[in-house]
Amino acid sequence: MIDTTIRRLTIARLDNIRFSYDGGASWALDGVSLTIVEGERICLTGPNGSGKSTLARLIAGLAAPDSGTVTLLGRRVFDDAGPNADEYRQARRGIGAVFQNPEDQLVTTSLEDDVAFGPENLGLQRRLIGERIGGALVAVDLNDRRHADPTHFSGGQQQRAAIAGMLAMRPRLLVLDEPTAMLDEVSRAEVLEILDELQARGTTIVHVTHHTGDTVHADRVLRLEAGRVQADVPADRSDEASLSEGTTAQDSIAPVVASHAPHDSNAPQQPFAIVADHLAYGYQNDRQPVFTDVCLRIRQGETVALMGANGSGKSTLARLLCALARPAAGSIMVAGLPIAPAKPKRKQLTELRKRVGYVMQHPERQLFADTVADDVAYGPRNQGLSDDEVDQRVGEALRLLHIEHLADRSPFELSGGQQRLAAIAGIVASKPQVLVMDEPTASLDAAARSRIHDLVRALRAQGVTMLIITHDRAEAAMLADRVLDMNQLCRSNAASPSDSETTETTETTSVSAAKQHHSLLQRLDPRVKMVGFLIVMFSMFAVSNPMQLAAAALLTLAAILAARMNPLEVARTVHPILAMLVLMGLLNLFVVRTGTPLVELGPISITDDAVRFAILYTCRFALVIIQGALFLTTTGPTAITDAFASLLSPLGRLGLHTQELSLVMSLALRFIPTLTDEALAIRNAQAARGGSIETGSPSQKLRAMAAIIVPVLAGTMRHADNLALALDARCYEEGIHRTHWRQLAIRSHDIACIACVCGWLVVLVTL
């Protein structure tokens, strides 16, 4: 029924929609009807599992329901006859979708290229794509960073980049599924501001959220519960709908505040459980340290909440305290054990793993075992406890989190909230004296959150010392004896968030400035460069006399100069494999038997031929390594992908899906850093439970490896799920005609490069 006051165009109309994930055993959406008119801004709210994300996906045309009718942008995409693919395809070109995980929506490592991906898929002309990129980046206020790598952006900036990627396709309807759920307060405000502007420009917006603050500017707020629309009201009246949630939060604060008093008066007599003095930490290769002088003292039995903006170093501090990273300077004593500045001995480290528990961000990402009980048992088992003791610990931990009933289930079939509880049980089961938790309640709904709050209270009553990192001020005040801000901990030059923001921008401007002064090697057409380097590198192994070696060295030196790099710095790239080179040289020394003996030691003799071959083989391999390093440092992932795609394209005639293979390659290169970081985080988290691949018996090492590989595979598939949706949202489809924003052209210096490579081959054959 269309309201008489609104005579605007209907953007989306859903009638009596049903949707089931389990073939009809339960309904994620059960009889939902909804009409959205042009220019409306609608918020979809409701508890986890209420079906709001599913509904958003249906509105975005990314999935079809089981029954009902769906009309999107005037096209009847789904009715009793089932989905109509052509209508879906057309409708989708006018619908944008943004999802919760900012990172998984980025398809490449240059912002400009990322934004161009959608328009390319729409087959727009190159000139038009340029206009679209500019317009979209201005709209999200990222135009000055168009050459930067979005995978290094903050979450808020990434989410703005994702919105830009959609705006470049000029959507009439924008569907956002919890776009601010993973962001801190500042980033959230940035994103909401952009939504306000889009609303003012007349874009229809559907926004899934569980932040009540987000609904302020909405025209309508739709509340879902158990797959049904429970309320559909104008925004100003939505407070009533969410009032019930507010009061429960209020209630739970009261008793805790009371329990604080006796504990606080005791606290001063307790010795310190955590003493950290003058800590400094900086990532390698980063000029700006994360922090330089952090001091922190926490008494036994104290519960301390740590707050601060993203990037202020909270998580780093947590890892330092758990001996999962080492500070550049300063001293740390945790649970009576010194862990810095002196490197802890293996025995101390084992003891530390027993006494200190570490809940990483999104601990559900470390689940690995066949059953929940098995997973929870991992820590106690690593402590070498007997089977009975392990069982007892597991039972206790599960009871503490009220998930005894999940013991025999696979952790992968649980809901997100249950997974979080199971993972935390796995850390609690080790009975730590000190527990460090990194955002344990982030992106959980109220029910799961209150379970974790109960756990904190129970552990506090047991006298466990806790450091809890959180973005939620109310939660911090409710749970902790003390609330600290990361900035207060930094004694000198407090790295305030605004500081880190500015350093970030100056860095990127210097990068973009450097881009304007490309070296000759960087300006080469990537196809020419890739083929040229590969020919030279493969043929390097044919070098068999000193003259050829000299020519090869000259060629490499020329390439280094063309890359405007310092030859000594380049030589250092050989460093990591120096040992291997030496070994190769030695091998040659001993296996070559021809020539006159120079040294004779019993059965071993070294001949002059052997020395010659040792030098020749080692040098030519070193040159290969240098050439490879030169190629990789002067060629970005996007250029590699362009070359790969272009070189592969002739194979398309043989029926090979070259466009798809190139996209696979491009996405793979983009996701390497993401997967590496995640694998390291999981390895740390399992190490904190006493599972190390470096120590222990072979069977322990193998089990430790399995405990890392399974969660990494789970993460891989989670990213793939999200990425597939992001590709759908950008209208990518097998075999479509795509245009290309980036153009490749052979120019004079490319021809010079080809001549050099040909010259080299001639030298190789004739000398």
Partner: protein, 226 residues
């Protein structure tokens, strides 16, 4: 059992594959989906018929991409398992095996080939050899597992794959070692029994044991993707 029980989402069908019978013939599914008009998509699949079915659905592209990335990442985690320093173990073979079991032989092939492309620019000949070994291990294993979707089938697949991979590695070493050291084929052949064979057997044994340790949890993981 409801009427929907036998129908799974096309997009997810490929993913539910380690579980026995769930994907008997993923490739036939894929080809039919690609050749028949998308409008005939079965009800209950939630597919819109756009980019969410067929051999190169966005979902498959994303899965391939992430597995290739994972193979690349793991291929750089090298550590020695024998006293011979230049023969190092890396877990990328496990990623190729799992890709093959879960998503079929073509996935195994794509991951095995593309996963070693970065190594092309560090050790060109060595990377070709790594691709060859990974293909010999994962593709036959995936082919066998495709028709025997049980733990036994997986074991047989890994065994056959490992044997082929060992043979490929030994032959490859015969060809490639003289590029790095001035050795005759006979000299390299003399290294097979004391050095090359034990290393390759140990490497495949680790692959096999870990793949077996993670078989059950990974099956659960795959079965629970919606």
């Amino acid at each position: 059992m409801s009427m929907f029980s036998h129908i799974h989402d096309y997009r997810y069908r490929h993913i539910r594959t380690v579980a026995p019978t769930a994907e008997s013939g993923s490739d036939t599914t894929a080809t039919t989906a690609a050749t028949t008009p998308a409008t005939t998509t079965q009800s209950g699949s939630h597919a819109t018929g756009v980019a969410d079915s067929g051999r190169w659905s966005t979902r498959r592209i994303a899965i391939y991409a992430l597995f290739v990335a994972l193979a690349m990442v793991t291929s750089f985690i090298e550590f020695p398992i024998t006293p011979v320093a230049w023969l190092k173990y890396d877990p990328s073979g496990i990623v190729c095996l799992i890709a093959g079991f879960a998503f079929g032989p073509s996935a195994a092939a794509i991951v095995s080939v593309l996963g070693f492309v970065p190594h092309m620019f560090a050790d060109p000949w060595g990377s070709l050899m790594a691709v060859l070994v990974a293909l010999c291990l994962s593709v036959p294993a995936a082919l066998i597992y495709r028709s025997h979707r049980t733990r036994k089938g997986a074991a047989a697949g890994i065994l056959v794959g490992a044997l082929l991979a060992i043979v490929a590695a030994l032959l490859g070493n015969l060809v490639i070692t003289p590029i790095y050291a001035h050795m005759s084929y006979a000299q390299v052949a003399a290294m097979i029994l004391p050095i090359l064979l034990p290393f390759n057997v140990a490497k495949m044994a680790i692959h096999a044991i870990i793949t077996f340790l993670i078989y059950k949890p990974v099956s659960n993981l795959l079965a629970q993707r919606h």
